[in-house]
Symmetry: C2
DNA sequence: CACAAGTATTCTGCATACAGAATTTTGTTT
DNA sequence: AAACAAAATTCTGTATGCAGAATACTTGTG
């Protein structure tokens, strides 16, 4: 039973090495998180433990544990006596989060200039160039994904676990909104210009410049996204 | 049964108004969090669901849900097949977290200068003066608590929910360490001087100055705490 | 026909039961 | 006495059962 249920969710995994193998808990969390981010579970939706559990092929117990986890991440809200609800973010919530994200990315950029190796920076450059290719072709989805990768990479290069972790939490809350909020051509061009400056600043290890670009870039993200809320 | 268990943990609560009344879940989370922060559950301790549950007067189901919540907060780690363990923070973890906290408080100060009302700033001044009284008397515990209140107040005055929430998470992770890490007289004096500058900058609504003091103050916190790890 | 009260149903929150993994204890051999 | 193997025990992970709250439905009344 346990293994049957797990089979539906947990990918096969050859367990060499001491790496923690994915648990059912992790799989449920990841799955429900994706359902929220991709809009399958719209904000305000009340999560029905019975149905959702049947849908995922797990019983209520591990599902409820996963939901509590997502409550702590801020993706769900708990309404006592009536279970979990997909959290609604107001325009102010989004704006506030973007301000914090901008600040965190600014800090990450600063630290990355200090701690990244040359090889790591070259790797970001490769991501950047591939992203620019996609921009030339106006191929939105791969552009979007590479864009995300570049930001994640800069976070990772800060070599600051705590920073990565809080950034991820905030990022996850907004992912859905940023996913819908697709800018027009003019704004897209602006974003691309920002990215040119980012990679240049990183290669020059100019912490102040990189930090500023990243923070400002996030402020512009608000402009791109605000009317999509 | 449910109500009996709840009685052990959940304070009595007259339920007028639409304020969410504390649930057993919240009570367990708060209780275990406190046990970790106060060192009753030392880092590395493996949490025994049976014992801990009996101790708190709740069954394993809601306890496990609470533990998952605390895992997401970063206070516990999950070791598949062997339950939850109180997370150990390395010196680097603490340092990294303090850097992020410093940045967040800096941002909070900047925003507080913008958004706080005069009355709110006067309220912080009152906290500050009371704290200085406690410093004169060298009364450490109330000093410590007032100190925390001032920092929380500045966060709150930023009027940025997302900022408050990520700050709280990081703060909780370090609370235990900061609680032990009691500085000597020289460093204490330095911290007090920082606080003088903070309140002055806030009253002058000098965002740059307040932001800088807060960030630097956190860097000094590292010096005060580093040998306690 | 609208609406309120009472009833039936559904759903959450918690407790318990059970299987299998992890750990400890015990026994045996060298 | 040390080291290994096997058995017994404990503990986690999951499923299920049950009580009470929340919701939907039904029926009676103005």
């Amino acid at each position: 039973m346990a293994s049957e249920a797990a089979a539906l969710l947990v990918d096969d995994f050859d367990s060499r090495g001491p790496i923690a193998r994915p648990t059912l808990h992790d799989a449920i969390v990841a799955r429900v998180r994706d359902m929220i981010i991709e809009g399958e579970l719209a904000p305000g939706t009340r999560l029905h433990e019975g149905n959702l559990g049947k849908m995922l092929g797990v019983s209520r117990t591990p599902l409820r544990e996963a939901l509590k986890f997502l409550v702590s991440e801020g993706l769900l809200e708990l309404s006592p006596g009536r279970g979990a609800v997909v959290r609604q973010f107001s325009a102010k919530d989004v704006h506030d989060s973007l301000i914090v994200l901008g600040n965190l990315e600014g800090l990450a950029g600063r630290l990355a200039c200090e701690h990244a190796t040359d090889a790591e920076i070259r790797e970001v450059r490769r991501l950047h160039d591939r992203m620019m290719d996609m921009y030339e072709k106006r191929d939105r989805l791969p552009y979007f994904k590479l864009n995300q990768s570049i930001h994640s990479a800069i976070l990772r290069l800060s070599k600051n676990e705590a920073l990565v972790s809080v950034h991820n939490v905030l990022q996850a809350r907004l992912k859905r909104i940023r996913y819908i909020g697709n800018e027009g051509p003019e704004k897209w061009a602006g974003a691309v210009a920002d990215h040119e400056e980012m990679i240049n600043a990183l290669e020059a290890r100019d912490a102040d410049r990189l930090s500023k670009v990243l923070t400002d870039h996030m402020a512009e993200t608000w402009e791109r996204v605000r009317n999509a809320i």
